[in-house]
């Protein structure tokens, strides 16, 4: 089976799930914040939806994922890297919320911007060229995954969470994050697959990673400015 056919099948399967999730959560989207504050006890479907929504609309996470899979051609490799990313961000999302540890959201988001810059440079072979060594790409995805998880945790911690059913709700949010990631990833993979087949890809890969790096710098500057203006 080609990657294309597999990806398409995956997309259709995930879209099916997505529709159910959206239907269950209908009417919640307008008042996410209010819902989170007022929810009492276990509310699995809404928290799954919120997690998925956060991931699908979270451009910082998506840019990093885009960088990670840029030169991954085999679905097996995509699976390994995305799993490492998921393990990383799940660990710190759960730890961050359940331990109640507070990390400055601006600093975490600035590091997430840095992760985008890092991955773009990695894609360009900059570390090999500059330092003569290739840093372990899997370790990098796992470690930056940890910071992405703290970023997810700070978004939830903006709200006062009800202690009743907290663990189940956070797990549901995390499941939603993974569903959202799968959805977004499928779309990115489909687009990448078409792009890679085109002759222009080889020429455009350098410029694309330059732009990715630029976007990472913008995210960093945005968050660092936020850190200093609200301090």
């Amino acid at each position: 089976m080609t990657l294309h056919a597999t990806a398409l099948r995956l997309l259709l399967a995930v879209l099916g799930c997505g529709c159910i999730g959206a239907a269950l959560a209908h009417g919640v989207a307008e008042g996410d914040a209010g819902f989170i504050e007022q929810s009492r006890g276990v509310q699995l479907a809404p928290f799954v939806y919120l997690g998925a929504k956060h991931m699908v609309t979270g451009y910082d996470h998506l840019l990093f994922l885009f960088g990670v899979i840029f030169f991954l051609y085999r679905l097996r490799d995509v699976g390994i890297y995305v799993t490492l990313f998921a393990i990383g961000h799940s660990a710190t999302l759960l730890y961050g919320v359940l331990s109640g540890s507070h990390v400055d959201p601006y600093l975490v988001d600035a590091i997430i911007g840095l992760s985008v810059v890092y991955k773009a440079l990695d894609n360009l072979g900059a570390y090999r060229r500059w330092f003569g060594v290739q840093p372990d790409t899997r370790a990098a995805v796992l470690i930056f995954g940890l910071f992405h998880g703290f970023g997810l945790a700070t978004k939830l911690q903006d709200f006062t969470l009800d202690a009743d059913g907290l663990v189940a709700n956070i797990l549901a949010f995390n499941v939603g994050v993974e569903i959202g990631q799968l959805l977004a990833l499928t779309a990115i993979l489909l687009a990448m697959d078409y792009w890679r087949r085109s002759a222009a890809f080889a020429r455009q890969a350098f410029a694309a990673n330059l732009l990715l790096m630029s976007a990472g710098f913008v995210l960093m500057g945005y968050q660092i400015a936020g850190y200093f203006t609200t301090a």
């Binding site: 360009l124 072979g125 090999r128 060229r129 500059w130 990673n209 732009l211």
Partner: protein
């Protein structure tokens, strides 16, 4: 290796072109930040381009709006009522130690404005309401006060029943309470 060398197997980009690419990426980012992101998000606009593009207006949303509204039920600006507008005035003489009531028969949502004044002294009072056919001693107090010689306000009946005032003369001289009401209610009476 999962990097650009898969596209260009012969060699990686040169160190020089990588440095230039990084510098270019940083310059693009700086330009976007200074002209768009910082003006729009934080109102920081060193070049004036953000203002020229109208981006700084995104940062000028009225900040006072949020704390202004109290968390408790906001008061209704408009209370619509059908029926005749009534105006009543009653005087109630009270001997030292004596207490008495004036009340209005009201449906839920009925509304009046009121003012009462005490001639010759001060009173303690309890503004309260009872449901129709309420048991003895079953009532809701709205406003309690002591040693007052005047009070006024506006009242909306939370439930159908009789709503009004109990005044008591705590002084040593006789007093007269004069009550004026105007609004939508069925009748004003002394029980």
């Amino acid at each position: 290796m999962h990097d650009i060398s898969e596209q260009h197997p012969e060699q990686l980009p040169s160190a020089r072109s990588l440095r230039r690419a990084t510098l270019l990426a940083a310059l693009i980012a700086a330009a976007v930040l200074v002209t768009a992101v910082l003006p729009a998000e934080y109102g920081i606009d060193p070049t004036g381009i953000g203002r020229a593009l109208g981006l700084t207006s995104l940062n000028q949303a009225p900040p006072a709006a949020a704390p202004e509204a109290p968390a408790a039920a906001p008061p209704a600006t408009l209370v619509k009522r059908a029926g005749e507008l009534r105006s009543d005035e009653m005087a109630l003489p009270l001997m030292p130690g004596q207490g008495a009531e004036i009340k209005a028969v009201m449906a839920a949502g009925d509304h009046f404005v009121f003012r009462w004044t005490v001639a010759g002294g001060a009173v303690s009072f309890d503004m309260h309401g009872e449901r129709h056919a309420a048991a003895e001693g079953e009532f809701t107090s709205y406003w309690l006060g002591e040693a007052q010689s005047a009070a006024g306000g506006s009242f909306r009946a939370p439930f159908a029943g009789t709503h009004g005032f109990y005044w008591q003369n705590d002084g040593t001289e006789p007093v007269t309470v004069r009550l004026q009401t105007s609004g939508f209610y069925e009748a004003l009476f002394m029980p």
